[in-house]
Symmetry: C2
Subunit: 388 residues, 2 copies
């Protein structure tokens, strides 16, 4: 058993809060060593974001499990010199300061590239390192709104709604990790590092998907449509006796099978529902006919019946149900980082499963601020000795 795909890679992590830490968490999960450089005294801002367990942020602990921490004041010349020594021994630097901050710290890209030609440098920011908005501050909420996903999420004709997890940050962190990993491959070919620039706003545009295709092809501006899919039907939540059941019959074959199962055999030849295009046009009528039948049984009953017919279906799980789901558990997607004062905080596992590699259900807990200073200094001395 090996540690992961990125075993042997060292990442110097200047990131705070979510987009950057999510990227380096992914890399930690793949076996990289993450050295988190934090401000003295305060550390990563997310140490102060709830929910809290015994005065420690469960939010911070989830995102930073398995990382090491050293506190450095990058405005102090000695601390900055220490950072430069660390960078000389590292493979990757990830930062998510506001554009311009690295320059102010004397850590601009050109300087770093010259000093450390093999170092991969990745920056995640709200709007990116270029363009008219580069200096503007951004949080998840701002890019979810500006990037269009809020405009297609929500009830039909209802109020605007935020995607309930911070995908403005998370998706940017994921693109950054994909880019850094590709740059590690690239370095194996060229021997040189690369500089990567990911913007949260760009990342939102990149996941807008058929919202863009619909506008580009048809000129219609899409809006929120509840649980429905804009161009596949039936593909939504339906009201059953005791709640909502998802039915996703994405093609004619599945639709015919669904109609048979619901004793609605006349529907596939009904001109309103005879093709996916027609079903999308008449989706509210289709929903009404189906819900009349679905009202007779419970969500769990329908799921059992539909599954037997091979029709994609499922419940709308709440978070507690997700964490108890047999498949989620079987895939080690709930992990803990056992820790003396806190106990066992549950968190999401690693979705990138690799054959023959460890996929444990425990993690090293997130570090206290500056907890790994001695170990990091030892590693540095050893690495510099080895290089000499």
């Amino acid at each position: 058993m090996t540690q992961g795909l990125l075993q042997g890679i060292t990442v110097i992590d200047l990131t705070r809060v979510l987009a950057g830490p999510y990227c380096t968490m992914m890399m930690a999960e793949m076996g990289a060593e993450i050295i988190k450089v934090e401000r003295p005294k305060i550390g990563d801002d997310s140490r102060a974001i709830g929910p809290f367990l015994e005065d420690r942020s469960a939010y911070f602990m989830s995102l930073n499990r398995g990382k090491k921490s050293i506190a450095l004041d990058l405005k102090n010349p000695d601390d900055k010199a220490l950072l430069l020594r660390m960078l000389a021994q590292a493979d990757v630097l990830v930062e998510n300061f506001r554009p311009g901050t690295m320059q102010k710290l004397g850590l601009d890209w050109d300087f770093l590239r010259e000093q450390f030609p093999e170092l991969i440098i990745a920056s995640v920011s709200g709007f990116g390192q270029t363009g008219p908005y580069t200096d503007k501050p951004a949080y998840d909420m701002v890019v979810q709104a500006m990037g269009g996903i809020m405009s297609v999420t929500g009830e039909d004709g209802g109020n605007p709604v935020r995607v309930g997890s911070s995908i403005g940050d998370i998706v940017a962190g994921m693109f950054t990790a994909a880019g850094v990993n590709a740059a590690l491959y690239r370095r194996s070919v060229t021997g040189k590092g690369e500089r990567i620039d990911v913007a949260m706003l760009d990342s939102q545009v990149a996941i807008l998907e058929n919202g863009i295709a619909r506008y580009a092809a048809l000129g219609t501006v899409p809006g929120p449509i509840g649980t429905r899919h804009p161009s596949i039907a039936p593909f939504q939540a339906f009201q059953a006796k005791d709640g909502y059941v998802i039915i996703a019959a994405g093609n004619d074959k599945l639709f015919a099978r669904l109609c048979k199962t619901l004793d609605l055999n006349e529907l596939p030849s009904d001109l309103r529902f005879s093709s996916n295009g027609k079903r999308c046009e008449n989706v509210l009528a289709l929903q009404a006919v189906m819900e009349e039948k679905l009202a007779a049984k419970t969500v769990q009953e329908w799921i059992g019946i539909l599954e037997k017919q091979g029709i994609p279906t499922g419940p709308i799980n709440k978070v507690d149900q997700v964490l108890q789901d047999p498949q989620v558990l079987a895939r080690n997607m709930v992990v803990t980082a056992p820790e003396k004062t806190i106990g066992e905080l549950k968190m999401a596992g690693n979705p990138i499963k690799v054959d023959g590699m460890d996929d444990p259900t425990t993690r090293r807990p997130a570090p206290l601020l500056d907890a790994d200073r001695d170990e990091i200094l030892n590693w540095l001395a050893k690495s510099e000795g080895g290089a000499a």
Copy 2:
């Protein structure tokens, strides 16, 4: 200028519809050569999913720009032999069949690993290659519901709502790309390929973020809360004179500045609003006080005023506005693939910007079914000749 981080990498792409094609689209954007293997006559199912432009799917065209197509019937021994010859020359195989299908085709992992020890093999599926649900069918809608994100998305106390883009598929495709890229790096160290297994359901759990932290730390099951953030306030959409404005004042300093700007100087010392925790507890009261002031001016007026104070803010853009946004355009996030019959279909660009590498605003259009057969056969003959 070089093509991208993955220049020189060849991917054999057996994927259909969205999760797999999104992964290989990301790799194409990073410079990899993608050879899309499609069923004869029908091809990728998404060729039949709207919206359509001149009978061609804009949805398919967006996801498959820059790829090459060859039609193979994998149940036909000659075609399968051709696939194996292609795999011998390739770096990566990506597939998103239902688990078991590759085995039925005689293309199971063990066989492929033995035949092609350097090949990286990635599978994306609804529930993964293991666990009790592995055989169940899944679409985006099903995993969005089962994975918990729908349970935290929607209006406060409202109906369930789907995230308006297919993040059930997209996020799984992104994790797969990150894993494949890491495996390419790993292969540069070990000389061996790896086998990667990504599930759409796992991927949803991995992006649930503070929904899990809140339940794990506090035992409370989170629900939908409109545009609000569960543990940061003010951080939401507010009603202004002519629509909604986003204000994300994520810390005490920004909150104080916001209050000054809104002429609400008494708020930071008001015990209901004196800390982020208090503001979250009394968020509806805070919203009421703020909206009373915000009603006086338009969204654009407020954005101008708040930006001057460095307070993160923005509008809720619809898709047409996103595609005209100066920052989005400046970052080359709107690209086209000029094509004779269709013209210029707009699509999202590449969010992974790499210094010194091309970031063009045009792409090679998505292929017609089997369009690149001759070119692929030539490449194969040449590669095999070169290897002999």
